[in-house]
């Protein structure tokens, strides 16, 4: 039995008998949401369901006219591909509550299936409208097969079986270029091995070949729109409601005659089919498939998208997908990454620290600390400030250069500082009140130091670090995601 926190009790201080406390106190909790984040969240909850859909469609429709750069368009296309993937995963994780860690393998399977059906590999040049249904059906079937062994045991096993499957898939595609079948001695090249398959046919719909990035962008936009619409309908349908019941309590659902196992497998197949379709789209746009497209970092990226937006929330996961795609793209360039890093910290502080006096004190304190340190250490040990900030340009660049210590050879110092930073952040979670605020200033400075001296040099590692940390922090602090609504938990 969970204890009822003070702010969730009735007006008299006593829990009201006969009403669920959580439901009874909903107005009070809503009123208790103050400040910037609270107001935004209130607004968000009042947005009608069709608005995000309309926003995505409208923005997407004009997006190709806003830019003439193929690079920007490709990022937009990637964002939509990820949005589709996140929508599919949302069915499995968000609705049915199954941890499917082999999701990327279905994405890869769809891509490879399309590549095999529509390329010179086996000289099968199926038309797109014939290939896609085959790919979707095959992916769904594979999903069903993989879900089967987990039928008799708890959901945790599903996680590991699917994770193992994802691993096997990459090994298989990397090595399936010299399979010797039992009936002959001639090795078969199925997947092209590490070189993958290239020279895929473009999507060809209604007699028009999709060659430009913008064509694929529009195809993806249509699919995302259909996906969101379909999910709205699905989520309130009989099946959707049954999925949520299974997620909340499989045992109770079973007692209510819901066919739990069949629904789990169905969710699994739905997710796999979506991933397979998306894989085909991805492969056709890339004009090729390679095993390294489907390795595990992709898995954590998609999970971070779904968790960030809030599993179960349709606009949430789409926004999560777009945000994370753009953020990861920005992290590629050191100058942009720096602006993003400090902006994210500033935003986090502005939302997390109230009243404004404390925030101001903290910012002034941190700045002063950095400037004083820079002068002192620079006087004792000139090498510590010698390098100058990497690509120190613009306002942020010059400010950072005066503020953060930048020793000439940052490697080892950066590593030590990184470990210290992790310890400091962990320690910070144990502190409360003023002490936390006092300890926050040096931690922030340390974070900036580590960023400038270590992380900025290895963007690919930094991306994974951030995604991993994001999952842990979100799950601990706000498991329903940034945009998800609080679920009623009665214990």
């Amino acid at each position: 039995m969970a204890q009822i926190p003070r702010d969730e009790q009735g007006p008299s201080g006593q829990p009201r008998i006969g009403t669920d406390d959580w439901v009874a106190s909903v107005e009070e909790r809503r009123a208790a949401r103050t400040g910037l984040s609270g107001r935004l969240l209130d607004r968000w909850e009042r947005v009608p369901l069709w608005a995000p859909l309309l926003a995505v469609v409208a923005f997407g429709a004009v997006f190709p006219y806003l830019t003439d750069s193929d690079y920007v368009l490709r990022v937009g296309f990637n964002a939509l591909v990820f949005a589709l993937l996140a929508l599919g995963l949302n069915i499995v994780v968000g609705y049915a509550g199954l941890l499917d860690l082999g999701y990327i393998a279905f994405f890869g399977f769809g891509a490879y299936a399309y590549a095999i059906l529509s390329s010179n590999k086996f000289d099968l040049h199926l038309p797109t409208l014939a290939a896609l249904p085959i790919v979707i059906a095959a992916s769904a079937l594979l999903g069903l097969l993989l879900g089967l062994p987990s039928r008799r045991v708890t959901g945790d096993y599903l996680a590991i079986v699917t994770l193992f499957f994802a691993q096997i898939f990459v090994t298989f595609t990397t090595n399936a270029n010299r399979i010797v079948p039992p009936w002959s001695d001639e090795p078969i090249d199925l997947t092209g091995g590490p070189n993958g398959i290239s020279g895929l046919d473009p999507f060809s719909l209604f007699g028009v070949d999709a060659i430009e990035v913008s064509s694929y962008f529009y195809i993806a936009l249509v699919l995302v729109t259909l996906g969101m619409l379909g999910l709205y309908i699905l989520s309130e349908s009989r099946t959707g409601r049954a999925w949520k019941a299974v997620r909340e309590d499989p045992l109770a659902a079973e007692a209510m005659t819901i066919p739990v196992n069949r629904l789990k497998l169905l969710a699994f197949a739905f997710g796999a089919a979506t991933a397979g379709l998306t894989g085909s789209l991805f492969a056709a746009q890339q004009i090729g498939v390679f095993p390294q497209n489907f390795e595990l970092p992709l898995l954590i990226t998609i999970y971070a998208m779904v968790i960030l937006g809030g599993a179960g929330s349709i606009p949430g996961v789409v926004i999560g997908a777009i945000t994370i795609t753009v953020v990861l793209e920005v992290l590629r360039g050191p100058a942009d990454a720096r602006v993003l890093f400090y902006a994210a910290i500033a935003l986090g502080l502005a939302i997390g620290i109230r009243p404004w006096r404390r925030l101001a004190a903290l910012l002034v304190g941190t700045l002063a600390l950095g400037l004083v340190l820079n002068v002192l250490v620079g006087a004792i040990w000139p090498r510590a400030t010698a390098r100058g900030a990497a690509e120190g340009e613009g306002f942020v660049g010059s400010l950072v250069e005066a503020w953060v210590l930048t020793p000439t050879e940052p490697g080892d110092i950066g590593n030590v500082a990184f470990v210290v930073l992790i310890a400091a952040v962990l320690g910070l979670t144990l502190l409360r009140g003023t002490w936390r605020l006092v300890a926050l200033a040096p931690t922030l400075y340390l974070a900036a130091f580590v960023w400038e001296n270590r992380l900025i040099f290895q963007p690919s590692v930094t991306r994974l670090l951030i995604l991993g940390a994001l999952l842990v922090v979100l799950m601990n602090a706000r498991p329903q995601g940034l945009l998800g609504t609080t679920r009623v938990e009665i214990t």
Binding site: D156, Y157, I160, V161, F164, I168, I300, I307, L464
Partner: protein, 305 residues
């Protein structure tokens, strides 16, 4: 395919199996008590291997050890076990503790996040290159049994693994802490009502399980010469498979499962194909889940509502 070759594969399988068994024990202990699949366990094993490596380098490196070999080995094992154990405790304290009563999926996703975080931390700190213990330099001896040459490191690894398993069995079966662990695994709430400090038991479980993983990491480094940031992932999967095959939650089951998976992998690498040995292990996992979901030595999980 003569007898010597077969025997050689048996030795290979036993060595690999001991490593997997130690990893499986950590999985099994934690799962037994928290019903949590600790995906980060493989990464703890990887960090253990790195700690062993750096202790070895700190003692002068494999070709110029400043201390006797026995002392070096002891220090490597102790440091790795202590470091890995502490890491496990930290992970429990900061990542899992708040989620103890959350929906089942929340700690699983957290574990995934911790796993990737540790992996990329190792990549950042240690780089992507393979490192080798180069044990030839200081542990070059070998014994010949029935025409098979068995290196001293392999004997050492198997012996060390088995003694750790014996110690663990005694710890869980004979001590007060072990009794508290079994009680907590059986029913956490009831155990708390009987005055058992459940938090302490859980911390102890993570400490012990992670220390075993750390030891396994050093053993792997001693025999297979490749320590790198991604080594924990595959080993974690195999360790988990071993725990499931033996029956998750059961200590003798984890040992049996580990040895079976190790042997299966060695023999499939030798007689079928080394690229598809993972596939064979995966098929074993599927088969066990289809035909004996509780594992070879596991007890049926009867739920009362």
């Amino acid at each position: 395919m003569d007898g010597t070759f077969l025997l050689q594969q048996l030795v290979n399988g036993l060595t690999l199996g001991s490593v997997y068994a130690l990893i499986a024990l950590g999985y099994s202990l934690v799962y037994g008590i928290l019903k949590l699949l600790n995906f980060a366990h493989g990464e703890v094993y990887m960090i253990g291997a790195f700690i062993g490596y750096f202790v070895l380098i700190g003692l002068g490196g494999p070709d110029a050890l400043a201390v006797p070999v026995v002392v070096a080995l002891t220090l490597m094992f102790l440091a790795a076990m202590l470091g890995a154990g502490l890491l496990g405790v930290l992970i429990e304290r900061f990542a899992y503790r708040r989620l103890r009563n959350a929906p089942r999926i929340a700690p699983l996703i957290t574990a995934l996040g911790v796993s990737f975080f540790l992996q990329s931390t190792a990549l950042l700190l240690f780089g992507a290159r393979f490192r080798s213990y180069s044990t030839f330099e200081f542990l070059g001896g070998a014994v010949t049994v029935g025409g098979v040459r068995i290196s001293a490191t392999r004997i050492l690894v198997v012996a060390a693994a088995f003694s750790l398993m014996v110690v663990l069995t005694l710890l869980v079966g004979r001590t007060t802490l072990g009794k508290a662990m079994r009680a907590t695994a059986y029913d956490r709430e009831a155990a708390a009502m009987m005055g058992i400090d459940v938090d302490r038991v859980i911390v102890a479980t993570f400490l012990i399980g992670s220390a075993l993983a750390g030891a396994a990491g050093v053993m792997f480094g001693l025999v297979f010469f490749s320590v790198f940031h991604l080594m924990g992932f595959a080993a974690g999967l195999k360790g988990f498979t071993a725990a499931v095959v033996g029956g998750i939650g059961s200590i003798p089951g984890a040992m049996l499962g580990g040895l079976l998976i190790g042997l299966a992998e060695a023999f499939s690498a030798a007689y079928i194909s080394s690229t598809f040995q993972d596939l064979i292990v995966f098929l074993i996992l599927i088969a066990v889940m289809l035909f004996r979901p509780t594992g070879l030595l596991g007890k049926a999980d009867i739920r009362k509502v």
